[in-house]
Subunit: 109 residues, 2 copies
């Protein structure tokens, strides 16, 4: 099943983070995202033609986040938005981060 | 006139940034904001009861920003929002930053 068709699973504190090889395999499915913080988070920057487009994009990502109960950190600037996913309960990356990244990418298809 | 009742003025590149005493005087009018980057920006963090409240707050601040044509950097996290104003054309703070900060504060009155 494609990542974008999956749904996030609730993570209890202490959930293990993905190991390096798993992370790299999932990253291949969302190649426009980059690894941050020694592999503990992924982020992607988006550029828009207007300020409003960036604002509305933040709302669309927030919709996905609330639906999946997995919330990114977002940065909204002038005609640009940064989205960063990480799983606090795992202190690193889990499949949930990649599922949400894939769903965000799908907004732009 | 109160800062929150003023409107931003267009800033040409090279507009002088406020000096330290002017900055401190204006900061007294928006005391919940803090100086960042050796006085080159101001920011305030906001906490909300729900994720949606933070999302809608970002929209309200974006409305002010577009109306005044002075756009902050915003960080949207889970139930929290950070707002940071700076004037790129002045490479520091101008009255515009404090006007917008005061208008943002007024959203919470």
């Amino acid at each position: 099943m494609k990542l974008s068709e999956k749904h996030c699973q609730a993570c209890a504190p202490g959930t293990p983070a993905l190991a390096g090889p798993e992370t790299r395999a999932m990253l291949e499915q969302v190649p426009q995202w980059r690894l941050l913080e020694s592999g503990g988070a992924i982020s992607r920057d988006f550029v828009f033609d207007t300020y409003w487009a960036g604002v509305v994009f933040v709302n669309a990502v927030a919709w996905i986040a609330q639906k999946e109960q997995h919330h990114p950190d977002m940065e909204l600037g002038y005609k640009k938005v940064g989205v960063r996913f990480s799983t606090h309960a795992a202190k690193g990356l889990t499949e949930n981060d990649f599922i949400c990244a894939a769903k965000v990418d799908r907004l732009l298809e």
